[in-house]
Amino acid sequence: MAALEIGEKVPGFTLPATDGQSVEFVPGESPAVVIFTCNHCPYARAWHERLNDVARDYAGRGVQFLQVNSNDVNRSPGDSLQAMAARVSAGEFAGPYLHDESQKVARDFGATVTPDVFVISADGDLVYHGAPDEDHDEPKLEAQWLRAALDDVLAGRPVELASTKPVGCTIKWVA
């Protein structure tokens, strides 16, 4: 399963959020960030606040921000829909937290770990793929790689740093 290449058109999808409502991602409607994350991974949790700060900071600038949990609940019970909903109810998410139960969206994007960050241009092209910033353990970095990519996209510039190595726990695939 290969990850999407920079410059490649990304696939759209429709997934349920924790309230049962379907959320649709249509590439080409606006710039967007799709983050594969989960409840149980220490890297995802360490970067979580930074990522949701980005979601809040860029919401007013027309960026759609979607966080997707693709982990198999049988291998990772902590990633159940109920556990996801509890975190949303607790106010931990700045936007929808989507459940990719079939894992199809993760496969379509070539996501491998949590968190795995994909930035999509308003044309529907993948323009950044990788980690939020250099160090999960340094909050002061403020997801600077993700912010820089978004700033480039919103300014109409080519993304200067288009690819970094995503860091995190492996997505828990169905056995």
Binding site: C41, A46, H136, D137
Partner: protein, 95 residues
């Protein structure tokens, strides 16, 4: 981190045995709740929630500053090892 903490406590890094858990069967056999797990004489230095399922997973530790981490806080590790391991001078000596 483990090696340096052991050295600080006066123990040899060679004391450490690494066990690779690469499949679900081994995880079940080892009662393994995630990586890394630190055991001394079979006892987990950081006992997991009993509801945790055995399997191939990452463990989430909470550092002393409250941040989630893939590794324990070095101070917690030092304290746990210090409690679990006898000081070198108190180890039984050969006759």
């Amino acid at each position: 981190m483990l090696g340096s903490v052991l050295a600080e406590l006066g123990h040899e890094p060679g004391l450490v045995k690494y066990v690779w858990v690469e499949d679900d069967a081994t995880a079940l056999e080892q009662q393994f709740v995630g990586s890394p797990t630190f055991r001394v004489n079979g006892a987990d230095l950081f006992p997991a929630d009993p509801r945790e399922q055995y399997g191939l997973s990452c463990r989430m530790y909470i550092r002393r500053n409250g941040r989630p981490s893939p590794l324990p806080d070095v101070e917690d590790l030092r304290a746990a090892l210090g409690t679990a391991l006898l000081p070198k001078e108190l180890e039984p000596q050969p006759n």
